[in-house]
């Protein structure tokens, strides 16, 4: 699969998972979406960090 398809699948799936994960954070849908959005951004950020670190390691140690 191309990177684009990966991203297209990963982002909504991560957001929807975060919606259910944040269910206990607020009593209404708007509150849950707000919390889930922040958590999704955090997950995406760390995913990108991990991918970059892995790529750097590959460049350094795997010729």
């Amino acid at each position: 699969m191309s990177v684009l398809i990966n991203v297209l699948l990963f982002l909504p799936a991560a957001f929807l998972a975060m919606v259910t994960y944040s269910a206990s954070a607020a009593p209404d849908a708007a509150g849950v979406v707000r919390v889930a959005t922040k958590k999704t951004l955090k997950v995406v950020f760390w995913t990108v960090v991990i991918l970059v670190v892995m790529q750097v390691i590959q460049w350094l140690f795997l010729p």
Binding site: L16, A26, A30, K39
Partner: protein, 290 residues
Amino acid sequence: MQLRPTQCLIYSLAVPGLAHFLLGRPVRGVLALVSTVGLLAAGLAIVGSRLWYAEAFNAVGVLPLMPELLSLGPTVVASALRDVSTPELQRALQLPVPGEHLGFLLAGMSGPVAALWMADAVWIATGERRAGPSSRTSTMPSVAAAASWVVPGLGHVLAGQRSKGLLLGAAVLAVFFGGLALGAGHSVDRGQFPVWWGGQLLCGGGTILASLTTAPMELTSLPYFLDLGIILCTMAGLMNVMVMTDAYTVAEGTTSYGEHAEDGSATDSKVASGSKVAADGQDGVAEGSA
């Protein structure tokens, strides 16, 4: 008789409904026993010992990953009574049997149903005492959790959090049916992918529907995204566990959203306060009076 939650779980695992009997709720005890054992027996009547062939793919080699284990006592008894005495019979068990999708489904459903009855026993033993009558919603926690098992989000709607229930239901069902579509309807098939099916069953309504409609369809060619579809359907099941758990606590009346609901900086804001503190918000106002 008073029981601790751990005792409720152990008794219910051994004999579904036993904790209810000990707690002085014989009618619920009979219902728990009949529904759990009845589902398992109905499933076994269709698939017989093939149930254990389908669960032979397990990680540890000893403990099969089958949802029926949540009704441990009856499953152990049925396992002891199965006939896999000869290699010929074991080979025969690998062959599909007519109506096996329905049989697998009925037997598998006995597990989650037993777990819901366990939750009910725990609520009787502790929750009713902990939360005062004024703090509860009109929906019993176990009923809210069971409703969310069948239709994700329905438990929240019954407990008064309508918009949140619709959002959570849409999230779980989007992932589930997205996965089902990617696998061309074959992502949910206990005969083919039994371990994954155990997770998918946690999204009860979707798995019931898929097991009875799409799973029996003939598989002519392997769908390109089948692996991804299986994973997404299983992910939906695990997501639904969080939805069911939250529905239970919302109906229980022990959820406090506190100040974190405003800035979204924390998610774990449940406290066993015994009072239902509704945060501001359209549904929060409604649930506060529920």
